[in-house]
Amino acid sequence: MTTGSTKPAKSEITFFSRGGQGGITSCQILAEAAYIEGYKDVMSIPQIGAERRGAPIRAFLIISQNIIRTVSAVTKPDVVLVFDEAMLKLPPIINAIPRKNCKVLVNTKKLNKETPLSDEIEIYTFPGTSIAMNLGLTLEGLPLVNVPILGAFSKLTGLVSMESIEKSLQNKWSEKAEKNIKSIHMAFDKTIKVN
């Protein structure tokens, strides 16, 4: 775990999910965890408007050691979280991932070699779907990777500690958080760098 002083002054994270996968909730939980971690200001920016199940949805998170004053869109994220590998086939999503100075995390067992991601960014994967299925983290039969992905995020960035994410989960679901807490640790352990 890194200390506050070595963390960057400001980090911007983009969440790519599908309607119903809990991407916006995920963004909100991480915002709270980052605040618990000790960042001076956090801002979660769900890009809502015409939300529909299955449609690609973006959410942004800014965590900062200073007061955040911006209300504009995040266009150069430091970290990109992709809930579903198939979304990388969509041009608006692949185009929104920076070509350098960025870490991308994809929920997949094995990343498709033809995925058009830049070689100059760090690419990570974690098997979020199987973790969610194994733990029974589902909604109407669909696996929920929105919480496990936070464990993977902690592993690859060190921006927010597992303890802070646990606290945030407990605040949200109290005793029911147990399964979710287990899931972030499983994801933490199974997150690998692929390039």
Binding site: A31, I48, R69, V71, A73
Partner: protein, 415 residues
């Protein structure tokens, strides 16, 4: 010290809309009526939750439209009940007739607006044209440019509005989505301390008007041309202008009580030695501080003059600014006023005060961010650069986004 008091505050990460709902809850409102409309909906959802869970002892009146919302609150407020609503865009416009009923009845109703674009074409993102188009209906209009300010403003709004000298309704305005749906930390002070700050509700209703079946009165009478209609109109204007004193007093008292200082009707940022000033309001004005910081780092004498209130209008503060030696101002509207002397309503109003100074000041009006169009810090720096160009070259920029004397930031010009 104030610090220990502040530590008692409960900090929650919440959306701008939830901050508005919490503001109403912590103001101990008695009656809520609201009709859901994007992007205001979650204010209504949260408040109905509060009432349903008995966390808030208020009556929630469900109605079929925004017009009825405000009609219902005219009734509740006339009985002396602290009344609250929230709306947005088309809903606010639908409410327009009743807004005049409220102000002309001098009822201290507080309403939050999550401003959005006006259809058609449908647009639900930030655009202050809704509130700007009803700016002359006798309500105090305050912009909240941070999440914390949304919450805090509602507490202050009741304190100001219910002051018998003011007796005017109050809008707290913030932008749709970029403020209503984003989440940030909001500090909620202990309720006991809030209760000490809030005004005490009179038992027999407001001094000027109390709807009580045991003591019947007629209100809203016909007034003949030779009677006092003109005089009553003047009094609304008079009270609005004089409310500036109550606003300052309330901001000071709030600072003493909770340790957060909102300054006054305006907020000046790096204005003291500035030659070039940007005047704006709302969330994007707050963001402009980042642009000012970057330009200051490069040695440019620029500043931001943020309007917190547009009704009452901060005449004195603006005239003082005009006489401070500034050379160029940019006035930015996040809203439209078609056919106005400038493209936006507030730039026109700011320019109307220029004859109070003998100094030559160049003014560049601008419109940005309407319908949620993204405005980045770099875009804002670009506008400052236009202002600096005017100062250095003594001529106005002629690029294609400048139409009819106003910069329409981001206008698609094919270039």
């Amino acid at each position: 010290m104030m610090k220990t008091e502040q530590e008692k505050e409960n900090i929650l990460i919440m959306s701008g809309n939830y901050a508005a709902a919490w503001g109403a809850k912590c103001s101990n409102v008695n009656v809520i009526s609201a009709y859901p409309i994007t992007p205001q909906t979650t204010v209504v959802e949260k408040l109905s939750d509060f009432v349903d869970n008995k966390e808030l002892d208020a009556k929630y009146i469900r109605v079929e439209s925004e017009h009825s919302v405000m009609a219902a609150l005219v009734g509740s407020s006339m009985t002396g009940a602290r009344s609250f609503s929230a709306t947005s865009g088309q809903g606010l416009l639908y409410m327009a007739e009743m807004l005049h009923w409220v102000s002309s009845s001098r009822l201290p109703i507080v309403t939050t607006i999550a401003s959005r674009g006006i259809a058609p074409p449908w647009n639900i993102w930030a655009d202050y044209t809704d509130i700007l188009s009803i700016r002359d209906c006798g309500w105090i209009i305050q912009f909240a440019s941070t999440h914390q300010e949304i919450f805090d403003s509602i507490l202050m709004a009741y304190k100001i509005a219910e002051n018998p000298e003011v007796s005017l309704p109050y809008f707290v305005v913030y932008s749709g989505f970029s403020q209503s749906h984003t989440s940030k930390p909001v500090s909620i002070p202990e309720q006991q301390r809030i209760n000490k700050f809030l005004p005490i509700l009179p038992e027999d209703g407001w001094g000027h008007l109390n709807l009580n079946p045991d003591k019947p009165v007629t209100f809203g009478n016909l007034v003949m041309p030779e009677q006092e209609y003109l005089d009553f109109r003047f009094m609304i204007h008079d009270s609005m202008v004089k409310s500036k004193k109550n606003i300052h007093d309330t901001i000071n008292l709030f600072n003493q009580s909770f340790g957060r200082d909102y300054g006054g009707l305006v907020e000046k940022y790096m204005c003291d030695d500035a030659e070039v000033i940007l005047i704006s309001y709302g969330g994007l004005a707050e963001q402009s501080k980042d642009a000012v910081d970057k330009l200051r780092d490069q040695g440019n004498k620029v500043g931001l003059f943020k309007l917190r209130y547009i009704r009452p209008f901060p005449n004195e503060e603006l005239i003082e600014l005009f006489n401070s030696g500034i050379k160029v101002i940019g006035v930015v509207d996040q809203g439209t006023a078609f056919g106005n002397p400038t493209g936006g309503p507030i730039s026109t109003e700011v320019m109307s005060l220029l004859n109070h100074t003998k100094n030559r000041i160049d003014v560049l009006p601008c419109i940005w961010g309407i319908g949620g169009r993204n405005v980045s810090v770099d875009d804002q720096i670009g506008l400052f650069e236009k202002l600096l160009y005017i100062k250095n070259n003594n001529e106005y920029p002629t690029d294609e986004t400048c139409q009819h004397g106003t910069v329409w930031m981001g206008l698609k010009t094919g270039i």
